[in-house]
């Protein structure tokens, strides 16, 4: 596992132009299978985790997607869905997902290549792939948390879980406030 992480690599990741928390998440429609499309707006009303990764089949990506696959039930317990996004085509995604037994969709940011990664500020010009980047988008379609990992380092799922827990706590606070207000107006 590529856990070797130097200080330089860590600070290097800070220069990213990834869309930060508080930004509206740009909508997009991408192929999820050779004959199906998925739009971000379909997930409105629940949090969604976008996991950009450079390529199917490369070892660290495999580890990251395999890890997220295992943590998926926890994401779902927190009311969230997960999608992976890379510039690979739908057929490649299909083979990769089957091989790794992934239980979440992989979207093909394939044509025009990397257009969605560019919108989110995580396209690696010159390399033709996306950064290894995570976005947690809230139920209203606003980016709550984003993180760009050094490309060779699996970011793990802890940051995503913390962000989803935050969102759930906020939702609970808001709901209890609303019910209090409702009682008061009665």
């Amino acid at each position: 596992m590529a856990n070797q992480l130097t200080r330089q690599q860590q600070s290097g990741s800070r220069k990213s132009k990834a869309l930060p928390g508080g930004t509206r998440a740009p909508d997009f429609t991408l192929r999820s299978t050779p004959d199906q499309f998925v739009s971000l707006s379909e997930f409105q009303g629940q949090p969604i985790v976008l996991a950009f990764y450079p390529a199917d089949w490369s070892p660290v990506c495999g580890d990251e997607m395999a890890l997220f696959n295992e943590v998926l039930p926890e994401f779902q317990n927190l009311g969230a869905e997960l999608v992976g996004v890379s510039v690979d085509g739908a057929w490649c995604h299909a083979a990769f997902a089957r091989d790794r037994k992934l239980h979440f969709p992989l979207l093909a940011d394939f044509e025009p290549k990397g257009a969605v990664a560019r919108q989110y500020g995580v396209y690696r010009d010159g390399e033709g792939v996306s950064e290894r980047a995570l976005f947690v988008i809230d139920a209203e379609g606003i980016i709550y948390w984003s993180y760009v990992s050094p490309v060779g380092v699996n970011p793990g799922a802890n940051g995503v879980l913390s962000a989803l827990e935050d969102l759930q706590n906020k939702k609970a606070t808001k709901e209890s406030q609303q019910s209090k207000e409702l009682k008061e107006t009665k």
Binding site: S13, S16, P20, D138, Y144, N154
Partner: protein
Amino acid sequence: MKGAQTDSIPATRLTVPVARRDHIQGPLDAPVTLLEYGDYECPACGQVFPIIKTVQERLGNTLCFAFRHFPLTNVHPHSEHAAEAAEAAGAQGKFWMMHDILFENQDALEDEDLIRYATALKLNARRLIAEVEAGAYATRLREDFMSGIRGGVNGTPTFFINGLRYDGARALNALLDAVTVR
């Protein structure tokens, strides 16, 4: 509404300290605690297994070694039953003996193999395999797994030395340096 901080580094500090709940070798209050998150079907874990044995021999009672399960069950189809078998053996008092056999036989982790190992260890093999098939220790395995996720375990093997994730090389000398310097 401003969102959370962008680009914060994920935690690499153990969130659930090594304690009585864990499978440990060596004294719990040893000056150095080495915790491994591992998967019995993971080849890299298999490679590091004899290295850990040597580290344990060299450090003796100054080291507490602990093992928590981190099976990647979709990639390693036998990892979950193997981890269950180790726990089931643990319930009969032989966790570490099963642990060793599993790592020494990573290419033979079918249920029949688990029964064979249980028999070789003079365990109640029928009870063991029934527990494995029922997923009797699933809650514990998930606790181990999630404690790893929250502490920054991204794959296996991942080590923590006195609660801090160790990101260095897994060669004997590097590991020995890491556990003796502290």
